[in-house]
Symmetry: C2
Subunit: 403 residues, 2 copies
């Protein structure tokens, strides 16, 4: 019998509980073990739950779980940052394996958790942190033995992708966001999602693994989608393309670039058909070539499924153990990032129009707002120009034209 | 030191050799072992090779490898059927793990090899048999513990996909095939590829795993792409769509359907952007939801990479052992397959035109040839009709309109 301590009983926690209940027989057959959630840590003991559970297993005291010698695996799905840091470190120190779907804490303390687990000879696994139900962390780790990873990029946030897809269908940003909130895809405060912060956390984890050297959140340039308008979608549709929020890390001989930004993707791009809350992650290895992994980027059952895949790997001993983080010193080359960009500025005056003309390959509109496709140029030069013109973040939308 | 016996030294064998040479250090770090190819079985000892090898390790006598006690892992990449059957069974009986990328033999003797390996407590792994470099067999096996797989489908043959993509660019079938042959994508006798036989082998492996019951090659309906013409591509482009050869198995409460056929995919389909020699495999699980795996469907390094991933799993003991084939008795429901179809018949007479009109939702052409979009109807009814009209296979092209 494998006893699990489950920390957090929100959407993902409930998904884990439901899947475990329904797959006992198959899990027994494949792992040779019965798997049981022995205790669940919650904030509010008296909250009404969607699923029927024995109230005896619920606790609001983490020590009940930490000191329970029968519990050998901790699943951490609280979603918070400070408490969960303590839960994870204490659990590992107490000799318990840890699986988490909490990207906030996994990104912040990635090296620390990995090192601690390695020191203790335990697993720290986090498949559910990136791409929801999509198996991508494990395949990425597996490719590392045989490949130099040259590039990793993806649509990593279901909320943004849902909003962008609904805008393609004709909604304004605020309408699409509202529906996403009603459906539970977006939080009441959507900043983490729409500003790209959540995407950046996932990219930081992917990039650190892929490039075998530490890439932290602050090493990644960031532009979200909160300033996009229906008019942008309209202009971009005219070139048979659409917009996706993409996090991308590329390796070069002398360093790397890392950015989260809106990208214009054409019908020929594999990202074009990634719609609604779906995610997709692209990897390029020097031997395996291009790989893309696509699936549900969020949701109760897909993310619960990813967490439980990690649990099975612990029980069967089939996870890659040892510390898989590399020690390469990587040089940040973000100031080299360049491309052709779509740029819309929501106000117009002679000065702005003139400056914009000077960098335009094509001018799409110059009346109330200015809309251009730029020549190939450094991103830094564009953002400096916008600063010099005193144009605020919410007054413009900038998206790179993808390959 | 892990000693490998490599059977076959063609494209994939050479890829394996090259990758192993270049990744020794990383493999040592991750597996804790040095990996060496101790012997290579070839047909012709004196053939000139692309890579420099110590001629002492080459042999044309399988017994040299079978009786070598140091060799614990056999990699079988001969591509043939009868000899390789003996190689694989003899190797397993002699206590050696087997990894193969030979889909011909893996499909034909799938249950036998799996059972034998299980009985011997050894690995029989075959990631390289399906989807070239794409990791799909292992992720599929991993999903089985937590999911009922409802559907598995994919673009599984790089040659067909290459031909179809080049036809989109304006070539006739025969021209595209010729280029594919010149580039080494297609064999001199391309029948296995263009008639869908190769796709069917891969689908049989995927389907048997996914549905946990035996689905053999003869349980799968088969139509290839050898009768397609440029005119078909033109008509299909008009509805913003293209053609892909897709193998698909669906599970129903009372059985399953299994077919390899040309499918019309629209711009919104994830298969639309799968071009040239790329492959993509779609899985639907009841918990994980939709998953798609995309990558290089063939090639020296990608397929070599897939084979070596299996080898690493054997060395690290991280493959799912035990027999993962289910024992479900599955009822074939292929006579229920229905849909809307694109149908072009390369000759016209009053009789044919009249019959075609009776099943058409839309008539696209009725002159020298007849081209229609059918109403939703049973595939069986269409093929019966074609038989009754005495229209030969090479005289028509039939493609289902995808969702």
């Amino acid at each position: 019998m494998i006893n699990i301590g489950l920390l957090g009983f929100g959407t993902v926690g409930t998904g884990i509980f439901k899947i475990l209940e329904s797959r006992q027989e198959q899990l027994k057959r494949i792992t040779g073990e019965s798997i049981s959630i022995k205790r669940i840590l919650v904030k509010n003991l008296h909250k009404k739950r969607d699923v029927e559970i024995n109230l005896d297993i619920i606790t609001d005291n983490f020590d009940d779980i930490l000191t329970d010698k029968d519990i050998t695996i901790i699943i951490e799905v609280t979603g918070d940052l400070e408490d969960s840091y303590n839960y994870i470190t204490e659990s590992l120190k107490a000799g318990k394996h840890v699986v988490t779907a909490n990207k906030k804490v996994a990104s912040r303390y990635f090296e620390e958790f990995t090192d601690l687990a390695d020191k203790m000879g335990l697993a720290f696994l986090y498949e559910g942190c990136v791409g929801g139900g999509i198996p991508v962390i494990k395949p990425l780790k597996e490719q590392l033995a045989l490949n130099e990873i040259i590039e990793v990029k993806g649509i990593l946030n279901g909320t943004c992708n849902y909003i962008l897809t609904r805008m393609e269908e004709g909604l304004e940003y605020s309408e699409a966001l509202k529906i996403a909130q009603q459906l539970g895809f977006a939080e009441l405060d959507p900043a983490d999602d729409v500003k790209g912060i959540d995407t950046r956390r996932k990219l930081r984890i992917l990039g650190t693994l892929a490039l075998q050297g530490r890439i932290q959140e602050e090493d990644i340039l960031l532009r979200g989608i909160s300033s996009i308008k229906a008019v942008d979608i309209d202009y971009i549709k005219r070139i048979n393309s659409t917009v996706r929020l993409i996090g991308e890390i590329r390796s070069y001989e002398d360093g790397y670039t890392a950015i989260v930004e809106p990208v214009i993707v054409s019908q020929d791009s594999p990202f074009y058909s990634v719609c609604y809350e779906k995610n997709a992650i692209f990897l390029k290895g020097d031997n395996v070539g291009d790989l893309i992994f696509y699936g549900s980027g969020a949701g109760m059952l897909p993310t619960g499924n990813a967490v439980l895949e990690d649990v099975i790997d612990i029980i069967t001993g089939s996870y890659r153990n040892g510390n898989l983080l590399g020690t390469r010193k990587l040089k940040n080359l973000n100031s080299n990032i360049k491309g052709e960009y779509y740029l819309r500025i929501s106000k117009s005056c002679n000065d702005i129009a003139n400056i914009m003309e000077s960098i335009a390959k094509e001018i799409l509109c110059r009346d109330e707002c200015v809309v251009i496709m730029t020549r190939s140029m450094l991103l830094e030069d564009i953002t400096n120009l916008l600063k010099a013109m005193e144009i605020k973040e919410e007054e413009y939308f900038l998206a790179r034209r993808g390959e």
